[in-house]
């Protein structure tokens, strides 16, 4: 800090008015009380709004709630049973396994025959070498 800056910084500033302390702190206390009152106001407003919605037909709302509870109960009981159903499925009998094997063989034969047929067709389609074709054209 140079001399000029020191000269400026030595100039004493005004003091805060003493009466402000009590006034401002009182307002702080008031604001806290007001804040709590506002919270109570909003909570009571919420409750009163809920009651205006539910109060006119309490039986209807109760019935609706019961239906929802029933739906949830059924849903949960179904979920519990589904793995048990899967466990109860018995393994296939030897007859069914033999039948499935027969079908499998039959399909395999059919597919094999089709493959042979396709192979024959592909043989027929194979073009003759280019030199032979040129010889045919020139002959």
């Amino acid at each position: 800090m140079n001399e000029f800056e020191q000269k400026l910084s030595r100039q004493s500033l005004r003091k805060i008015p003493g009466e402000w302390r009590a006034e401002i702190l009182a307002n702080c206390r008031g604001s806290k009380v007001e804040g709590r009152a506002q919270e109570q106001f909003w909570s009571s407003t919420f409750v009163s709004r809920l009651s205006t919605v539910f109060w006119p037909h309490p039986k209807a709302w109760a019935a609706l709630a019961a239906v929802w509870i029933l739906i949830f109960a059924v849903d949960f009981s179904m979920r519990d049973k589904s793995p048990m159903v899967a466990e109860k499925v018995s393994p296939p009998s030897p007859e069914i396994i033999a039948e499935l094997k027969k079908e499998h063989l039959m399909y395999a034969e059919l597919i094999g025959a089709r493959d042979d047929h396709d192979a024959d067709r592909s043989k027929l389609r194979v073009p003759s070498p280019r030199t032979e074709r040129v010889g045919i054209l020139t002959a």
Binding site: E3, F4, E5, K7, L8, S9, Q11, S12, L13, R14, K15, I16, W20, R21, E23, I24, L25, N27, C28, R29, S31, K32, G35
Partner: protein, 170 residues
């Protein structure tokens, strides 16, 4: 410590420097009082604001600065302050019996009032709060280089304006 005593402690420790800063910034005693009250009421309602604060003074200056800017914008007093400064300004300096000092303080108050608000804020915090540029920067939410340059510009203007008087009474 209860909330009430915490607010009292904050007031006793910081209200005076905040008052001086706000009075120099707004140049209006009523605005200064409104902003001070707004800050302390806010702290009373939301004491958690200070939970993670390391530099209480810098944090409170930031609150004060932002609240003062908001208030002045709301009231549209920015232009009014600039235009009618000479007629309405309140000096941020204490009264003195010495006539030379009184004249110097009056001239200094006028010269400060002619500075742009952003320069005035930095000059005040540097000269009368003794804050470093880093702390001023943190308080006013500006880069430290900006704080330093604003201080230099402001000080140059004050020096230019007050040099004849300063040389005379030195």
């Amino acid at each position: 410590m209860s909330r009430a005593t915490e607010i009292e402690r904050l007031y006793d420790e910081h209200a005076q420097p905040l008052f001086a800063f706000l009075l120099n910034f707004t140049r209006d005693e009523a605005d200064t009082r409104d902003v001070l009250q707004e800050i302390f009421v806010k702290l009373a309602r939301e004491p958690e604001l200070l939970d993670d604060v390391r530099e209480e003074r810098a944090f409170l200056i930031r609150l004060a600065h932002n609240a003062a800017i908001d208030l002045m914008r709301r009231r549209g007093t920015r232009e009014k302050t600039k235009e009618n400064f000479a007629a309405e300004a309140v000096s941020p300096f204490a009264a003195t019996a010495d006539p030379d000092e009184k004249f110097f303080r009056d001239e200094l108050a006028d010269a400060l009032g002619e500075l742009p608000e952003e320069q005035r804020a930095v000059v005040h915090l540097k000269l009368w709060e003794g804050l470093t540029f880093e702390k001023i920067a943190a308080a006013l939410e500006i880069p430290p280089n900006t704080a330093a340059s604003r201080y230099r510009y402001g000080l140059d203007k004050l020096r230019g304006r007050l040099r004849p008087l300063y040389e005379e009474i030195k």
